[in-house]
Point group: C2
Chain length 351, copies 2
DNA sequence: CTGAAAGCGCTTACAG
DNA sequence: CTGAAAGCGCTTACAG
């Protein structure tokens, strides 16, 4: 009978090192209580065998469930954008919950800072092993991040980033480039003499995100030496009447406008205006595959939507934490989503 | 001391049914050797408890490794297209090999039917638990599929499909719609009086794939009541000189051509011609993000590339087999990839 | 047709 | 600082 020796595994390591498997386990997980000499010996053997722990056995034996906390905006009647990341998060959860991952989701209401702060309080009081969040409010996010760093809890940002913060990973759009592409699409749609209107409809129009997009947008026209083609309009109210008043004023002032680029998902508000005013010759481009926008894409009022795979952002966010916590796999510090162009013709296959 | 009862698991089921866990296991896996009465009783309890087997424990105990066989073309000097699915396949493998999945890849040389047949022989002689393949040769693929069906081996097709065949899943592009979008992009680029040249560079230009794309392409112009804008050119040789001769002839005949749509990845051959002949005003659109094409996209000779996430096709193909075989999860019978539009501006973020 | 027992490769108290 | 033993929730021979 041939002696059957497993050439890997804690048992074999223990056999070779002349110690018990408990000691091997201590070394593998860097737990204290092992003499330096023993530790070095075991580490050498681990290296020699190129030992990879069996994740299956490890998770089964430990019974540890990693608790992930998620902090994202709630979808509202104005925008179901956050449904998509949510779907991705839930898809990831379904896939890995059998491997001992639990996911708890906390929502906040996007304009209301207080709901964000409240959710953060809840996240702080329960002890999570990892956090996935959209850092919608700068100071509050930085504060929470500091707390997590202190507790050694990895944090992943999705959708938007805060520069120079120590997170495990950022998953989101390359904003400058997407603004640049937006400009190109505008250019493609208009005639030589027409101008392009760059619209920002937001109460916080000076946020980092918007500045990046605007930079990219203007860079394109600068490269073409035709920055004068570009008109900028800031609308700081988000109700339909205010938006329309401002648009009307701008059109009176600039009848040569041939295309409009809206810097966020509120492009549907402009679409509604164009349809009501019967201005089908104006080309319209904006962000995000939310259902309001899909409607106008279908009718042709919106020509292009630029999108950044919000569902996959949620999915990848959870999977990054899982890889980091449970599998000890390396995680990209920055993962930029592609810049997708969605049109009437390919919208049925977009996810 | 409170009695700690696990309210799920084979143990609890066995306890409730008054049988051993071995018998429970037999019922769970539909193995024979259980009386009808016992079986029904256990099944009722399983349902009542909504029992979900612990995949971790199951895979660990069984030690079974699922062997997946992959059959795809080799990348060649003409096209590194198949590097992308390969990357996806390897990424999936890395992610799930720790869960007892092994992947073996067989390559064939795309024009050579004999290399396909030879690979199929190898696949048949080794016993795989699942197959991922690109059914590049119709009859041979159907034959192999029959063999797999006989052995009860699930098969997943990627990149192209064979209609009416019983596979586990098809993962690939929606061809008609991508042709339709191609037409729209052409239309967008040209002036009112210009015409569009539809080019097929292939030795098997009548294959199902091409017919579908062509249908979609023409449908677009038909919808605009301007089918006469569309000129079709079949080039049945794939060497550069033959291609250029045909293009030259066509341009002489139709000087009003403003845009060219190439129905596959050989758009780089047309790009080379346009650059050499110094025809920058001709708009060029084609398929696939292969490195040759990327070069011309960067220089602007190619305006748009239509792509179908080849890497993700490979990734999803392997994951589908894993989900089906190891996790008993349901798998989509048809999974259409999105129709991606890649331009100079977003190419850096495309995967 | 059914069950007792060993084992998958780890982790975790607990004892020393 | 170290080890023996039980156990995670299954599967797999083997015996009856």
């Amino acid at each position: 009978m041939t002696e059957k020796r497993n050439l890997s595994g804690v048992k074999e390591i223990a056999r070779r090192a002349n110690v018990s498997i408990a000691t091997v386990d201590r070394v593998i997980h860097n737990r204290p209580g092992v003499s330096v000499k023993t530790k070095l010996k075991i580490e050498a053997i681990i290296k020699e065998l190129n030992y990879q722990p069996n994740v299956l056995a490890s998770r089964l034996a430990s019974g540890k469930v990693f608790k992930l906390g998620v902090l994202i905006p709630k979808s509202s009647v104005y925008s179901d954008f956050w449904d998509a990341p949510l779907r991705g998060i839930q898809r990831a959860e379904a896939e890995i919950k059998q491997y001992g991952i639990s996911v708890e989701i906390f929502f906040f209401d996007l304009p209301e800072k207080s709901t964000f702060t409240k959710a953060v309080q809840l996240l702080k009081s329960s002890d999570f092993d990892g956090i996935l969040m959209s850092p919608s409010f700068l100071d509050e996010s930085v504060d929470f991040l500091r707390h997590c760093q202190h507790q050694n809890i990895p944090v992943v940002f999705i959708d938007s980033n805060i520069e120079d913060q120590k997170t495990l990973s950022y998953i989101g759009p390359p904003l400058f480039q997407s603004g640049f592409l937006g400009a190109k699409l505008c250019q493609l749609c208009i005639s030589y003499s027409s101008k392009v209107l760059l619209v920002n409809i937001s109460k916080q129009s000076k946020s980092y995100n918007y500045l990046q997009i605007e930079k990219g947008f203007k860079q394109y026209f600068e490269n073409m030496s035709s920055l004068q083609k570009c008109i900028k309009l800031d609308i700081n109210e988000i109700d339909q009447p205010s938006i329309e008043v401002q648009l009307k004023k701008t059109f009176l002032q600039h009848p040569e406008i041939g295309a409009i680029f809206v810097m966020n998902s509120r492009v549907f508000a402009v679409a509604a205006y164009l349809e009501r005013q019967n201005l089908p010759h104006i080309q319209l481009i904006g962000y995000d595959f939310i259902s309001e926008n899909q409607r106008y894409l279908k009718t042709g009022t919106i020509n292009f939507l630029i999108c950044h795979k919000p569902e996959e952002q949620g999915y990848k966010g959870i999977m990054s934490l899982y890889h980091h916590l449970a599998l000890n796999l390396p995680v990209d510090m920055e993962y930029y989503m592609p810049i997708d162009i969605v049109t009437q013709e390919n919208m049925d296959f977009y996810r």
